[in-house]
Point group: C2
Chain length 406, copies 2
């Protein structure tokens, strides 16, 4: 809530307003006669100099290209996901204007330059691998006269809350610096103001940049190594799982975002053996229960001495795995941990984000299996769900969404 | 909200419970006959090996010492502040037990070791300069039969909300890795469960570790360089401003935490000149309006061509400065940026945290001046306020609070 909406009046404001009246006049006068110590030094700040002990604040990820950034990009430490609802009057022309403005500012911000209307240009000079990825929900696409994605079917495990579900336009703003991510989100939301309103915002995190060896698979807040079986960016496999090759989405993909509430208190009451069996992997290092190292191939046929599968049939890993190689996705999740409600001691979970060329053919059958049976469902509840088409990237001079709106 | 409190039943649970009944039996059986791939590898993980490209995840800040850590410590990227209310039955003996348990786990976690009852020990192995600092509110101190601090007097600018104000026990959990901070908070709150309930939680951030040159003063979300005049840890000046020398708080200090809502939308409508004049410093680099570099000494007597003070009388810097050298504080603030309410585009501000030996003698007169006049008040509203005594540090075998509770 901003101050102007607080609906409160301050005692003593008359005296202060009197004092401030003079003060503001002083400012105006100072500006009028050119006594201005600010403007001379308000130009775009210079980038860090060589030899300064700056480690990674200046690192950038290219905005332009065949695909949007923020998908194949090694996941940054912080991710903010904002879904917006279009205003009723935003038509196809309005969508095009909005996406041109957003594209322009996203290209600037991710390069460590200030947004066009940024009055704090210093806030933009630490990109820290900032990426900005745009997604179009079913409502936006249909308003543009196209088609592409629909929301997911209902799953029995779902307890969806509208405040974390659906939306017309998605901004995924990710970077290694939380201040940069916050500033970028604000700049982009200023751009959207006349076209759309915020529907929901979800803020997540992974390990901070440089705290672990590169390539370490993240742990979620259950302590699970989460994402071992992910396709690896830069491989043919990844390209086949993720990128669309047909229609206006060619070079793009689709994205499923689900907010998965994790019952950390209930999980605490499960012993180590039960946890490993629920996942099908060892919590210690993420190795399958039939293996030693994280990336060992699981042996689903292996039985223990009394005839049970070593990797239980009900385990999350077993239930996630299909015999159909098409039923795979690329996960790029973030943990969330927000202040708990009164009397609770945690409100935590996972902002599950998955990219796949085709939601219906890849994601849905996988999620149907997990909906039917997955021991992890005992401690997790999906409370938000949204699907977005992720348009392809663009070249300088172009804009994200031009294959739909152009 | 945890799942057990959702009050909802899932369709299809009968079938799943049937399947899970068998599954859980399988787990028990597997455990009983020792088919357990987990326990063998669930020992405390080894620290990062030399030569691995781990940059800073293993860095620790000593927990034990004359003073608590997390005050003179270079501010980490993430700070979570949790205030708790004591349960009615928590007496002086209970306080002592609680602080022994908390101290023990804080010493472990900050050393990169798992908490005593931690069933995810892997989550603790990336301390990333984790510090845990305890504070005692007036209610706790009085229940212990002592005295020390009181809440602040009312200020006319305050619009305090109980959900961000007061509290008996404070946990300041700060570190460079957000996952570590979240895990540590959960471990500590498990410790407090039978003694206290959570009153409020505030989560904040600064620049990520390694994004800027060491020693760079932080910027708040107005883009202001914030904290230039801070006493520098390791100096006599800092020691005099911060550490208490008398009574049970000797070696400790006091802490004021105020949640300052910042009207980013209103601030956006102020031009660059007006902003610089409001602060008294250039936004570009934090230099006083009479200087060139951030740490130049301001010249409050300097006038411009038409006779106005170059550093305006109403500016935040001028109003913060007292002729009495005792009226100084040490700030260690964090930005906050949380999902905005419907229709808003930002909910942001500053978790203002100040340490000083004596709240009444140092903080209160300064805040009274700012309450009376400070142009920044036009765009900022204090919505939370709390005061805590910060006990001295302890040695191994001791516990935080022993000078009050021992």
């Amino acid at each position: 809530m901003t101050r102007s909406d607080s609906g409160t009046q301050r005692p003593g404001s008359t005296r202060r307003q009197f004092l401030l009246g003079g003060a503001v006049a002083g400012v105006a006068a100072a500006a009028a006669v050119g006594i201005d110590h600010a403007l001379g030094s308000a130009a775009t700040p210079s980038p860090p100099k060589a030899g300064e002990p700056v480690i990674h604040g200046g690192e950038t990820v290219a905005f332009h290209g065949k695909h949007q950034a923020g998908i194949a990009t090694d996941a940054q430490a912080h991710g903010t996901f904002v879904a917006l609802d279009l205003r009723p009057e935003t038509d196809r022309d309005g969508l095009r204007r909005m996406m041109r403005i957003l594209t322009d500012d996203a290209a600037r911000l991710t390069a460590g330059e200030s947004a066009l209307a940024d009055s704090e240009p210093e806030m933009a000079t630490t990109p820290a691998r900032l990426t900005i990825t745009f997604g179009f929900g079913p409502g936006l696409i249909s308003r543009a006269g196209g088609s592409g994605v629909s929301q997911l079917p209902a799953f029995t495990i779902d307890r969806l809350q509208p405040e974390f579900s659906e939306g017309d336009l998605l901004l995924q703003i990710a970077g290694d610096d939380p201040t940069t991510v916050a500033h970028a989100a604000r700049m982009l939301l200023k751009d959207t103001r006349s076209f759309a309103t915020v529907r929901w915002t979800q803020q997540g995190f992974r390990r901070a940049y440089g705290t672990e060896a590169p390539g370490t698979t993240m742990r979620n807040l259950f302590g699970q190594v989460d994402g071992t079986a992910n396709p690896r960016p830069g491989t043919v496999d990844f390209d086949e799982v993720v990128w669309r090759t047909d229609g206006w989405l060619a070079g793009g993909t689709t994205m499923v975002i689900r907010r998965i509430q994790m019952d950390l208190e209930g999980w605490d009451r499960v012993d180590r053996v039960g946890r490993d069996q629920s996942v099908g992997r060892k919590l210690s290092n993420g190795a399958p229960l039939t293996g030693v190292n994280e990336h060992d191939e699981p042996d689903f046929a292996a039985k223990n001495a009394i005839g049970f599968s070593v990797i239980p049939e009900f385990s999350h890993m077993r239930r996630s795995r299909s015999d159909n190689p098409r039923e795979r996705i690329f996960r790029r999740a973030y943990n969330y941990d927000v202040p708990p409600a009164a009397g609770e001691i945690s409100n935590s979970g996972l902002i599950f984000a998955a990219f796949q060329a085709d939601v219906e053919a890849q994601y849905v059958p996988l999620q149907r299996r997990l909906d039917e049976l997955d021991l992890l469902n005992e401690w997790t509840v999906p409370i938000g769900s949204a699907v977005f088409a992720i348009p392809p990237g663009c070249q300088p001079g172009g804009y994200i969404g031009e294959t739909l709106l152009g």
